[in-house]
Symmetry: C3
Subunit: 357 residues, 3 copies
């Protein structure tokens, strides 16, 4: 089976690349580049990048045709594009020259659209998409195949919804929101009231509001508010398989790594970072700039700027110390047993001392 | 971008609302209500609710047009509907007056149906639904767009399957079952047998049986039995992203919070509650009325009525005590070092004492 | 509601079954069997199996019509098929005689296919499948309803993609790959670069490569490489709701149990086993034949052959010991307090001793 494929048709000169990122070039500028790759996989037509001088040796061994670097690689004849922030430069070049082509604009004839909707100019609605009634979709939005959009949904400009996404009734997306495959926006919150030892559903009448520049990974779930909105604010990025319960509010520019779970009505400030598989209980408040270690269980409010870890989460220094000592416990227990023996011996000797004279 | 939308067309008088929940009304009864909201988001046309007298101050500040209360708010001129259980009353009113309209009844022309099926009266089959052969769907069931139902599936009356759900071959759903988007019923159990250091698949020939009134959140996975059924019994409610392995049996009226994982052939009694992100190993038995703390790792049987927590899970009191002490470990270690020094000093003094006379 | 259904039409004689697994038969060979079941659910037309002599009593009580056994059940008149590895024999029989029928071959008229694709002989493309441009699908592949396959995807022979799977642009599947419902192959890696305290997306230009005989459970997510491939090697089996980040490499014949998460660029050797809900940080290397306990948090490289557990993961023996002692901490603390008192008493007595003479 042939597993190669034409990744990019484009050929761009080093000169053009350098222009786009305002780089100083060392070496020839007429080399043609057709892709970006990491050092160890790059071929002669690839641009690669060196984030730190410690990778200079790897760069020498790489087959790459040119490099983006922070500091020049010594004695390197191949073209080097020197910039202050190589990773940002690479991100810029990837977006500008090597982005895969967008799907065709317009509405695929197999899509099923409801009534009274409005679709902006240059939007793309893929095959077998289902869209409810009174839906607004902004300019240049890309809705891939097999997506479902419910009634009364509003989707801003330049959004991207990957295949198999569901955005359910009355949810609202700002501009440039990206939702990866299998993600569900607006499932019911987990709300019941108990009567006669049975669970009775509380209808979930609210919605979800995702502000501008929010990106959610694959198979994420965001429940609608019971009343009011579950809200994720501008610029927050969420990794795969994260669970966000009803009426949670997440601030701006947060980072939630994969498999995090946030229980109902919990509120996060801005610039919060949460490591993978951490869990936050319901109805707590996490301040701005808080960092929560991977795998933590947060059971209380966290003040702005704190770094916390552990189950239950405590301040980072306390958690780290106790983490180390947990594995010394067998030694500590031995030590205690040894001390007990020495004390018993002292006690008996002292009794002798008392008795002997 | 305009992000408002008409949530409910209905206008209901306080008199009608009070009638439906057998409430005593204090204040005017002719006020018209068009929605339900929490105190801090309510507008003048909204009904809100006060679960405890501690929220009376917040109620005074709320813009709500009327309140459901357990105890009357003092000096409040707006209508108050007094009931013994405000949350149950609100749930009842939400369901009765403010539920979003159901999708149109009947079969969308774009749905693909197999042969020899039977669809009950007043059912709704949405756009681009795929249904296998010999499928039975009960009366008034609502199957949303993009759902897949396999061959020989049986779905009871009044079930709701949200967009992008899969119910695979031969699985059975009782009445009033609700499955949220992205949930998969009847994926293969994770069963292999090892031979020559390779893993050989054991065909998973069983099915899944979800009894009456079961509700599963979004992106839940329930594997089919290897042979026989994986079964979730009447009234159990499961939150988003829960994983239920092959041949698990879950009792009646259980609550499983988000991201819980239950390994193969484990059995739960009735009224079990499991906190978020807890994991249960395979082939254990958990008794009736057990409560398992969030994040626990249950590795052994749990007797009925026990409350357990921790990794590995132990009884609640033991777990809580050791949780507190884990963060005092650095202090305890210092204490031990200090005791060792004092003992050494005692030992040398005692030797002096012995030697001195 | 009638919840029975015809699972298998086939009737096979004990003689035929024994032939297929080279079994020695004790008892009659003309009994007809129509299914396989576990001991406690088997009916008279079912074959069941006994993995250990400890289940002989249960076998006597079972209604099964015949048994596959390692050692014969004493005084049992029903037919017994004696083989060295009963579970492997059952897996073989299930596959050979009792596998559910495959979906019809060919392309369902409602499927939407792109241009320049190639579909192998005897493949099955289900209802409402969407397939991008330049896609290659191998012989005898089964693509169930509502699957999405992106542009430039390559799928080998004999693959099975269950309903609602997404395989996104440029990803590659070997032969006999199985993907369960809701699984996403090729979502974007979680890669951003920070500038002016905002997160800027790094385009994810790589792909995912799943080698021969890989099986992924339901609602699994595998991100594409930033550049280059995320790769899962031959024969590895992955359970439901596992998250595999960009540029991860997983060796051959590994087992990853449900809800495991592996962060970016981490590399696993061959025959690695990871228990449920474990998490691995980014950029670490795990050697061949490593076993990682359920719920562990692996934060460092693990040498080949090691067994590790805990958060952070350490060698198995250390982890187990400290796990036991964590719950003895309240006792240890009491012991320390008691020792402190005894030391204080000794100190005062010794002072008396010194002073008294």
């Amino acid at each position: 089976m042939n597993t190669t494929f034409p990744q990019h048709a484009a050929h761009v000169s080093v000169h053009q690349l350098a222009d786009a990122i305002h780089a100083t070039v060392q070496g020839p500028t007429d080399v043609l580049i057709s892709g970006i790759s990491q050092l160890d996989h790059a071929m002669g037509s690839d641009l690669s990048f060196v984030l730190k001088p410690t990778f200079h040796a790897a760069a020498k061994l790489s087959q790459a045709g040119a490099f983006v670097v922070g500091q020049p690689i010594p004695d390197e004849p191949r073209p080097q594009l020197i910039v202050p922030h190589p990773l940002i430069a690479i991100a810029t070049l990837a977006q500008r020259f090597f982005a895969p082509p967008l799907p065709p604009r317009g509405i695929h004839p197999s899509a099923i659209l409801g009534v009274e909707g409005r679709i902006g100019p240059e939007a793309s609605i893929g095959a077998l998409v289902t869209i409810g009634d009174r839906v607004q979709i902004g300019a240049r939005a890309t809705i891939y195949a097999n997506v479902h959009i419910g009634n009364d949904v509003i989707i801003g400009d330049d959004c991207t919804l990957y295949p198999q996404v569901s955005v359910l009734d009355r949810c609202v997306l700002g501009n440039r929101v990206i939702l990866h495959s299998g993600t569900v926006i607006g499932s019911d919150g987990f709300g019941y009231t108990q009567l006669d030892s049975r669970h009775h559903k509380i209808l979930q009448l609210g919605n979800v509001f995702l502000e501008d520049d929010v990106e959610l990974g694959a198979n994420v779930t965001v429940d609608r508010g019971t009343f009011g909105s579950t809200r994720i604010k501008r610029g927050t990025k969420v990794d795969n398989q994260v669970q966000i319960a009803h009426n949670v509010v997440i601030g701006e520019d947060c980072i939630l790594v994969a498999q995090v779970g946030i229980a109902g009505s919990t509120t996060l400030g801005n610039n919060v970072m949460i490591g993978g598989q951490a869990g936050l209980v319901d109805h707590i408040t996490v301040g701005d700039n808080v960092r929560i270690a991977a795998g933590s269980g947060v059971t209380n409010d966290v003040s702005p700027g704190f770094i916390v870890g552990g189950r239950p989460a405590v301040d980072h220094a306390t958690w780290r110390k106790s983490q180390v000592i947990q594995y010394q416990l067998p030694e500590l227990r031995k030590e205690i047993l040894s001390l007990r023996k020495r004390i018993a011996l002292l006690e008996s000797r002292l009794t002798e001392t008392h008795d002997s004279p």
